[in-house]
């Protein structure tokens, strides 16, 4: 679930050349990315066009995957929903990495009260079932898409802080950092010019894993009817709607399920591969 556990346990061995599987994962990602950006122009039908009289029909004429309750084309909705699936999680991942990365680095480098405070906070969040908290908070404060992003950032940043803190800690103990300090570089320069480039590979890999975590979180909330505005095409929300109609048009729930699994698995696969590559590069000095 979390970026950190995934990274910590990532096998750091045998640099792999991109296998068929990795290429496949990249292809899936490329498709999803293209759909997220150009989806509305690529969809065979306008996903917003309703035809309530054609409510929930199985795949058939003109509707590759059938229709939903308002008679919208499921195939086109799946395409249109790629944006909702990508944008929020990307923002969460970026936000997480930026905030968590900065706090983790600064905490590891300077230590002190702030570091302890940030760490205790991370301890607390570690001990909480994050999704449950998100459900309660978003439910209670009636959060929308962006508020959900903020809450997910808040809840997953501690993992990022921990991770960045630990990788920075490793670097801070290395003599090159001492060397930078002894020649009298400012802390900021030491941090950003010397330490940052060395932890960047890890950070980039965690970015992808954060994305997966956010994708899962977002879609779970959407499945529960939270965080995504009604009417906005979204895989999690479609799946929830489709569950009631699984005997009439199973694709209404199966298609988003498959898309979610494919997207998340592909990103994890690529993240894993990237981490392997980057870390093995770092090992072979």
């Amino acid at each position: 679930m979390t970026a950190e556990t995934a990274l910590v346990v990532a096998p750091a061995r045998t640099p792999r050349r991109p296998s068929v599987l990795i290429m496949l994962a990249f292809t899936v990602l490329l498709i999803v990315a293209v759909l997220a950006v150009f989806g509305q122009w690529l969809a065979p039908q306008d996903p917003t066009v309703q035809d309530p009289l054609l409510s929930v029909t199985p795949p058939g004429d003109g509707h590759l995957l059938g229709t939903d309750q308002l008679g919208r084309d499921v195939f086109s909705l799946i395409i249109a929903a790629a944006r909702s699936a990508i944008v929020g999680p990307v923002c969460v991942a970026l936000g997480c990495v930026l905030i968590g990365g900065t706090l983790g680095m600064v905490g590891a480098y300077f230590g002190g009260v702030a570091d302890v405070a940030v760490n205790r906070f991370a301890d607390l969040v570690y001990a909480l079932p994050a999704l449950l908290i998100a459900i309660v908070v978003i439910g209670v404060v009636d959060g929308g898409y962006w508020l959900t992003a903020a809450i997910l950032i808040f809840l997953s940043t501690p993992y990022q802080i921990r991770l960045c803190r630990s990788v920075t800690m490793v670097q801070v103990r290395l003599p090159y950092v001492d060397a930078a300090r002894t020649i009298g570089l400012t802390s900021r320069r030491t941090l950003f010019r010397h330490i940052l480039p060395n932890i960047l590979p890890t950070v980039v890999a965690t970015l992808l894993l954060d994305f997966v975590a956010a994708l899962i979180g977002y879609s779970a909330l959407a499945y529960l009817g939270l965080g995504v505005q009604a009417g906005q095409p979204d895989w999690g929300a479609m799946l929830a709607e489709g569950q009631s109609f699984i005997t009439v048009n199973p694709w209404l729930s199966l298609a988003p399920a498959i898309m979610l699994i494919a997207t998340a698995s592909s990103v994890t696969l690529v993240g894993d591969w990237l981490y392997d590559r980057l870390s093995s590069k770092a090992v072979s000095r």
Binding site: V56, G71, G225, L226, A240, T247
Partner: protein, 557 residues
């Protein structure tokens, strides 16, 4: 907060019965003419037709499992007052009188009910009724029960319905007298609905946990509760029951949140009957081999109210544009699978027919009202005439547990987009919805659903007269109270002259149709499905479902 957790059946029924009672609450002071039965029963389905005959048939059924949408929080009606609970409670507790779907009452635990004056009701109790624990029914039990359901201080949810009750006394060996603080023609019906008589001794011994699994009320009904679990209530026969035995030896009420799971359960033979929550699934229910569906129109109105005091809906053209922009026929299919009717006016015909000369007259009046068929050109034209020709943005809430409201809002969102009107759908849980209704915190467009318990248009009066901002629990959501309608409204609520009331109703409905403070949408039906091998002797009406007497009509066959 809107979640799937409670999506489903419970709130549909909750809205149904709750607002049914709501309407009867607002009919206080009005004469209650019983009209023709609301929604004559009609059976449909693939199974064999209903068996003839009434009363208990000889053949018993070992046990039936009936699926409802959600489990009751409490088996004490003062703590949880809604259809699910009523249906369950009525299997083991009984009222003094029973009301039929047409509003008429028949004696039950009371053999005779007298109203010597406007403020006194005298119940004569039957002497052969015995509680399931063997205690005989005494007037003290009835006194305690009525005090219990009228006890506002203890927070009884039922108390507001029977607030005119001033005192309850035993006035004879088998006689209980209820004294009212003021004349109230609805209180007798309401009492027969909520005063489900309990064993007072038991109830007093369990004052704090009455209604919980640890202390399920003891009643005189045909069954007694043997297990009140989180997923089901199990009932077996009350050996001391005084009346005709219903067919099933044992009844289990299972709570299955979604139609899907309930269908799968019926397919596998785990349940024998279900109250359908989502009408779109009716076709799937019927597809279950050997099942029979029983449908009946409910006295329920689903509509949108528009706040006529604030921009942009203070402009009638905008309101009409909205009315034209809803594809009601399509939505009927999408939200109900076609298993509902379009609402011709704010009230279903069954509610206004009692004051009309005839049902045909009522229908032809309704047919003559201005209709707002789905027509985007007209919508565009209306908007062009308004002061908001360029469009505007509006947030429209929907009740997440009620698909019709969500689908309507989504339909509006899509259809209004080309007109420059941006609609933001906002989910509400039914809890939030109810809280907003009673707290008068509704927004400019508000989805509404309410129903009449008694077939009488008395509620219309309050709809147009209540000063929305000041009356908690009122119904003037549109904040629309034209001066020229105040008199007809008064006539409707206080007159006994049927013709005058018909005229008043016509006036108000015509004004509503022309001014469009409310956009009528749908009139749903309720659907009961029985599995292969089970039928109803007679299709139960809404009141039979609510009062649990429908179990008497269940037959094997």
């Amino acid at each position: 907060m809107s979640t799937r957790m409670t999506a489903g059946r419970r709130s549909w029924l909750c809205g149904l019965i709750g607002l049914t009672l709501l309407m009867s609450g607002c009919s206080s002071g009005a004469s209650s003419n019983s009209g023709p039965g609301a929604g004559s029963g009609q059976a449909a389905g693939s199974g064999s037709g209903p068996a003839a005959g009434s009363g208990a048939a000889g053949a018993t059924v070992p046990s039936v499992n009936i699926a409802l949408g959600a489990h009751p929080n409490s088996l004490d009606i003062t703590k949880h007052f809604d259809a699910v609970n009523m249906g369950t409670m009525s299997l083991f507790t009984e009222p003094l009188e029973r009301i039929a779907s047409d509003g008429s009452t028949t004696p039950n635990l009371a053999t005779k009910v007298a109203e010597p004056n406007d403020t006194t009701i005298v119940y004569t109790l039957r002497d052969d009724a015995t509680f399931s624990n063997g205690d005989p029914l005494t007037p003290a039990d009835v006194v305690w029960t009525i005090q219990h359901v009228t006890d506002a201080k203890a927070g009884a949810q039922t108390s507001s319905l029977v607030k005119s009750v001033a005192s309850v006394k035993q006035t004879g060996d088998n006689e209980v007298t209820v004294t009212l603080s003021h004349p109230d023609p609805t209180v007798r019906k309401n009492l027969s609905l909520v005063a489900l008589v309990q064993n007072a001794k038991f109830a007093k011994a369990h004052a704090s946990d009455l209604g919980t699994p640890a202390a399920v009320p003891v009643g005189t009904g045909p069954y007694q509760v043997t297990k009140f679990g989180t997923e089901a209530v199990t009932l077996t026969r009350n050996p001391h029951y005084w009346g005709d035995k219903p067919a099933p030896d044992a009844v289990t009420i299972s709570y299955l949140a979604t139609d899907n799971t309930a269908q799968l359960a019926m397919r596998s033979g785990d349940i024998q009957g279900a109250l359908v929550n989502d009408a779109t699934t009716l076709a799937q229910w019927k597809a279950i081999g050997g099942s029979t569906a029983y449908s009946s129109q409910a006295l329920l109105s689903q509509f949108l109210s528009l706040d006529t005091t604030a921009a942009p809906f203070d402009d009638p053209h905008v309101r009409k544009a909205m009315a034209y922009a809803i594809d009601r026929k399509g939505l009927l299919q999408a939200a109900f699978g076609g298993n509902a009717s379009l609402l011709p006016s704010l009230m279903p015909v069954g509610v206004i027919a009692p004051v009309a000369p005839s049902e045909d007259a009522a229908n032809s009046f309704l047919d003559g009202l201005p209709a707002y068929e789905f027509d985007m050109d007209k919508a565009k034209a209306e908007l062009a005439e308004s002061s908001h020709a360029d469009g505007f943005a509006v947030t429209i809430p929907y009740i997440s547990e009620q698909p019709w409201s969500k689908l309507t809002v989504l339909n509006l969102q899509q259809n209004l987009k080309p007109l420059g009107i941006t609609v933001t759908p906002k989910p509400l849980s039914s809890q939030e919805w109810v809280a907003a209704v009673f707290g008068h915190k509704t927004t400019s467009v508000w989805p509404m659903a309410f129903a009449a318990a008694t077939p009488d248009p008395v509620g219309l009066g309050r709809v147009v007269t209540e000063a929305a901002m000041t009356a908690p629990g009122g119904y003037n959501f549109a904040k629309w109270a034209p001066a020229d309608l105040q008199e007809p409204a008064e006539t409707l609520t206080s007159s006994v002259d049927k013709a005058a009331r018909w005229e008043a109703a016509q006036k108000i409905l015509t004004a509503i149709a022309t001014e469009v403070p409310y956009i009528p949408l749908f009139q749903p039906q309720y659907n009961l499905v029985l599995a292969k091998g089970f039928t109803f002797a007679e299709t139960p009406g809404i009141m039979e479902v609510a009062s649990g007497t429908w179990m008497n009509e269940l037959r094997a066959g």
